[in-house]
């Protein structure tokens, strides 16, 4: 392994100016450290911009801790995926780097294969039923999460507590509520991974089969055969379309002018009968469909549409205008299904033996079931659950504000959850004892410093990968979701030529278009996207789907064939090139580019 290909060592990465001390925001076990240096330098770490497109607030590490705990539990210990243990992760300059852990010993892989066959087999054989039950399980978790309360701390307890002889007071209730909150998020992410990890394993198998049968088959062709047609992830956008139609039917469409303030619009609607009817329908759609957040659920400030309708108001206006012009908003589901069946039949016919066709049919049968869930599940956990969760954390934040610990509800996100634990104990001790807490003096300067750190870390451009390129990538999820393969890593390592006008990535959705680029570095800039532009971003979130009706194509730094951006792009029938590594650095807003979603190339047409 002496001539192994290497990216920069994580230990050589410089701290951006003014960001000294950033490590205090993250727990010790999530930092690169001298004591684990040798091991850390010999592994591959890649930037998970798909789930963490920005620097991660201290509290938001909880989503990743819960997520990677879930992945590890399911891959390593529960289902024993033969070649893959969990995915390790670190924070570096506030950014999330992840590293798959492979099982090296062939004997161990064999042993795990036996366990996996029995365990995953149980799920595969009952998949549709188990997925249905899984959805119910998640809904129950969301109900339980909603029921968590952080009660007000009174001057003296209600006498009901005394006469009911409960034996403990509000301090205990608050303490337990926080514990329940922690338990809830850690549990939901295990449940999340319960279906996802073995789902990727099945998909990966079909992918390998197709690659063997058709060595040059595009990833895109494979996903088009498997394609989930109608999943919950598309429902929020469908609801927006429905509301647009209703607005026209009810004659309140004149209020939906682009650029209008959504709060004012809602106030005006409140004044009329028709307006109130529309608002009632908005509210009905909101729960649960507008728990869709503008990101991927891992950043607390990527707010849900229900909390910040401003995020989708512009789109709603677009839809209203389209309805008035008599344009159809319907997705051509039948057409997509036909397209899928035709492609599938086409490839099937090209297989060389009857045996291969039988294997193809059966694998496809399994994978279509599984893949439907992989697309569908996302609304439930990443959006619905997470949006409710962050708001629950805000309720706790409000308690801290009332007790003088924080100035703002959002300040709680500058503390790691273990620090919140300490602060809560400080608060509860001081309230019960009746002596001053240290928190109100202790935390504000820390929060102010961290706010500044986060602001500066945001500007840092993370390298796509660090450490050593492995000979093979064996983790199904890493290949399928992030699109990390040794070939891709080698391509990233090739020195970029300044005069090179072509960026390469995954051909994720077919078609070729030219147009002006719109570089979007964070969710807040999403509303700037104009009709006919090409969206260039670090990672395209599925929740950005509505903006897809405006754009001509999309290009991203990060994303694989199964990434949700690819699905949405295909759904909208616009070309997409994902995983270019550097699009947001190389392209600027207004620049004309050509996106070739068949070849996976982006050509810079002007300087």
């Amino acid at each position: 392994m002496t001539d192994a290909l290497r990216f920069q060592s994580p230990f050589e990465v410089q701290t951006p100016p003014g960001c000294e001390g950033w490590t205090e925001m993250y727990p010790y076990y999530l930092l690169f450290s001298e004591d684990r240096r040798q091991e850390e330098e010999n592994k591959l770490w890649f930037y998970n911009g798909m789930h963490a497109p920005e620097a991660v607030h201290p509290f938001d590490t909880i989503g990743f801790e819960a997520g990677y705990l879930g992945i590890g539990e399911m891959s390593s210990r529960m289902f024993a995926i033969p070649p893959a243990m969990g995915i390790d992760f670190r924070f570096l300059n506030g950014r999330l780097y992840i590293s798959p852990t492979a099982v090296g010993d062939p004997k161990k892989i064999e042993e795990r294969a036996k366990l996996f066959e029995r365990r995953a087999g149980y799920y595969f054989q009952n998949w549709p039923q188990f997925y249905e039950e899984w959805r119910e399980k998640v809904k129950r978790e969301i109900e339980q999460l909603k029921a968590i309360r952080f009660p007000e701390l009174p001057e003296v307890e209600d006498e009901r507590l005394v006469f009911e002889r409960k034996g403990y007071g509000t301090s205990q209730e608050v303490f337990e509520a926080y514990h329940r909150l922690l338990e809830s998020i850690f549990r939901i992410w295990q449940i999340h991974m319960e279906i996802v990890m073995i789902g990727f394993a099945a998909y990966f198998t079909f992918y390998e089969f197709c690659k063997k049968a058709f060595p040059e088959i595009s990833d895109q062709a494979i996903t088009r055969m498997v394609g989930a047609i109608d999943v919950s992830m598309f429902r929020p956008n469908d609801e927006l379309k429905r509301l647009a139609k209703r607005a026209v039917e009810l004659g309140v469409d004149s209020h939906f002018r682009p650029g209008a303030d959504v709060k004012e619009v809602f106030q005006v609607l409140e004044q009329t009968e028709a307006g109130r009817t529309w608002l009632e329908e908005w509210r009905r759609s909101s729960d649960p469909w507008f728990y869709m957040n503008t990101g991927d659920g891992f950043h607390h400030h990527h707010r849900a549409w229900v909390d910040d309708p401003g995020a989708v108001f512009g789109i709603l206006c677009d839809y209203v205008a389209k309805v008035k012009r008599g344009e159809s908003l319907e997705r051509d589901i039948e057409g997509r299904r036909r397209d899928r069946d035709q492609i599938t039949e086409g490839y099937r016919a090209l297989l060389q033996t009857e045996e291969d066709r039988r294997a193809f049919d059966q694998l496809l049968g399994l994978v279509r079931n599984v893949y439907y869930s992989i697309e569908d599940h996302k609304f439930y956990v990443e959006h619905w659950y997470q949006s409710v969760f962050w708001n629950k954390v805000r309720e706790l934040g409000a308690l801290f504000v009332r007790q003088g610990f924080f100035r703002d509800v959002e300040d709680i996100f500058y503390l790691h959850w273990s620090e919140v634990h300490q602060a809560l104990m400080d608060l509860l001790l001081s309230w019960t004892i009746g002596a001053p807490a240290r928190g109100p003096v202790y935390w504000p300067p820390i929060i102010a410093r961290r706010r500044e750190l986060m602001r500066k870390l945001r500007e840092w451009n993370p390298p796509p990968a660090l450490g050593t390129v492995p000979e093979a990538v064996v983790d199904p999820a890493v290949v399928m979701l992030w699109g990390i393969t040794p070939e891709r890593l080698r391509a990233w390592l090739e020195p970029e030529k300044a005069e090179e006008k072509v960026l390469r990535g995954f051909a994720a959705s077919p078609g070729v278009v030219e147009g002006p680029a719109r570089v979007v570095l964070s969710v807040d800039q999403l509303h700037e996207v104009q009709e006919g532009e090409i969206l260039v971003c670090s990672v395209t979130e599925p929740s950005w789907a509505p903006v897809f009706s405006r754009i001509r194509a999309t290009v991203s730094d990060i994303g694989g064939m199964m990434s949700h951006a690819a699905i949405v792009a295909r759904e909208y029938g616009i070309p997409a090139v994902l995983g270019t590594g550097s699009a947001t650095k190389r392209i600027r807003t207004g620049q004309r580019i050509r996106v070739d979603g068949d070849a996976g190339t982006v050509t810079l047409l002007e300087d």
Partner: protein
């Protein structure tokens, strides 16, 4: 064939069943026409015409005499026999009835194309062997840009003689193929190609049968076939007919026919054209569609020569010049990729464990 065996047959009247009469190459052109492809018009001088030529000149006995002394591995004897036979052929007259039939065929071509003395390609069309083997043996002589009945007749005679080049002789001797087997010749209108090249109904790189790979360059296809130019390469998904990859190479040279004999001369390509794709997307897709259709009809992967005529509108400008079975990948044993497939679950397990083990 009913009635009297003709000396000349129009392409539109032949198919694989007439192979013994018109040879593999012409038969396949006839098949292409039957399957709705555009093929430049032309006619075959049948093996019956060839036989009449031999008979009229008493060549059969003389041929047998010369060939009796030839050994497949004796290069000198091969050379000597070849020279003798060529000499014999070129001295001999084509009998009046055969000559008349060829002249009428050429005249009809002139009427159809509305060109007097239309330029044609004259090439031999082997009867017995697979055409690709014959081509390997150098047995398929081709004369391009031939104009005028006189020149056509001369080229036909040369094609007949080409069955007796040293290489062709050696090949037929070692393969045990009868030496007095007939020779057919195709006479076909030349198209003025804006671009031309070859295509395969599989990936020549990996044998992937879900792809169609089109290679082309400016001018006649000889630039691509001879390897004188790095061609443009278009990869098309056979299932969806989407172009999945375009490799546009600088095509620095092309061939142009010059003089009355239409000798092909290599000339530089104007700079602004060098890096322009030689085919537009709709042409690539239409070629792929034709190729896919033919492959389905024939049931095996194909290797096809095509040309895009200048001054004709799409899709009438697309011509197929030749189609033959692809041989490199098709001859490999077909192994099942899912050998011993039991059920999806065990296959998932095998893949996951095997993938890791094969590192």
């Amino acid at each position: 064939m009913m009635g009297e065996v003709p000396f000349v047959l129009d392409f539109s009247r032949v198919g694989f069943t007439e192979r013994a009469l018109v040879g593999g190459k012409v038969a396949s052109l006839g098949e292409l026409l039957r399957h709705g492809c555009r093929v430049p018009p032309g006619f075959a001088v049948t093996s019956f015409g060839y036989r009449r030529f031999l008979e009229a000149n008493g060549l059969e006995d003389r041929l047998r005499q010369v060939l009796a002394s030839v050994a497949p591995n004796d290069l000198e004897s091969l050379e000597r026999a070849s020279q003798q036979i060529t000499g014999m052929f070129l001295e001999s007259r084509i009998p009046r009835e055969v000559q008349g039939a060829i002249e009428r065929g050429y005249e009809e071509l002139s009427i159809r194309t509305q060109v007097s003395d239309p330029p044609v390609a004259v090439r031999s069309s082997a009867l017995a062997e697979d055409s690709e083997q014959a081509s390997f043996a150098g047995q398929q002589e081709t004369y391009l840009w031939v104009r005028g009945a006189e020149n056509v007749l001369d080229s036909v005679r040369r094609c007949w003689a080409s069955a007796f080049t040293p290489r062709a002789l050696s090949y037929r001797l070692t393969q045990g193929i009868s030496l007095d087997d007939g020779v057919a010749v195709g006479v076909q209108q030349m198209v003025h190609p804006r671009a031309a090249g070859v295509l395969f109904t599989l990936s020549p790189r990996t044998g992937d049968r879900s792809l169609i790979v089109v290679e082309g360059s400016w001018g006649p296809g000889v630039a691509v076939v001879s390897g004188e130019v790095t061609p443009d390469e278009f990869t098309v998904n056979k299932v969806t007919l989407e172009i999945v990859h375009r490799k546009i190479s600088p095509k620095t040279a092309q061939f142009v026919p010059t003089g009355s004999e239409g000798v092909l001369v290599k000339v530089p390509v104007p700079e602004d054209l060098q890096t322009k794709p030689c085919l537009c997307d709709e042409e690539v897709v239409e070629l792929a569609r034709l190729a896919r259709h033919l492959e389905q009809v024939y049931g095996f992967p194909l290797d096809i020569e095509w040309a895009v005529a200048e001054n004709e509108a799409f899709p009438h400008n697309l011509y197929l010049l030749q189609s033959r079975p692809e041989t490199v990948w098709s001859r490999r044993p077909r192994s099942s990729i899912a050998a011993n497939f039991k059920d999806p679950l065990s296959y998932v397990v095998q893949t996951l464990a095997g993938k890791a083990l094969s590192r």
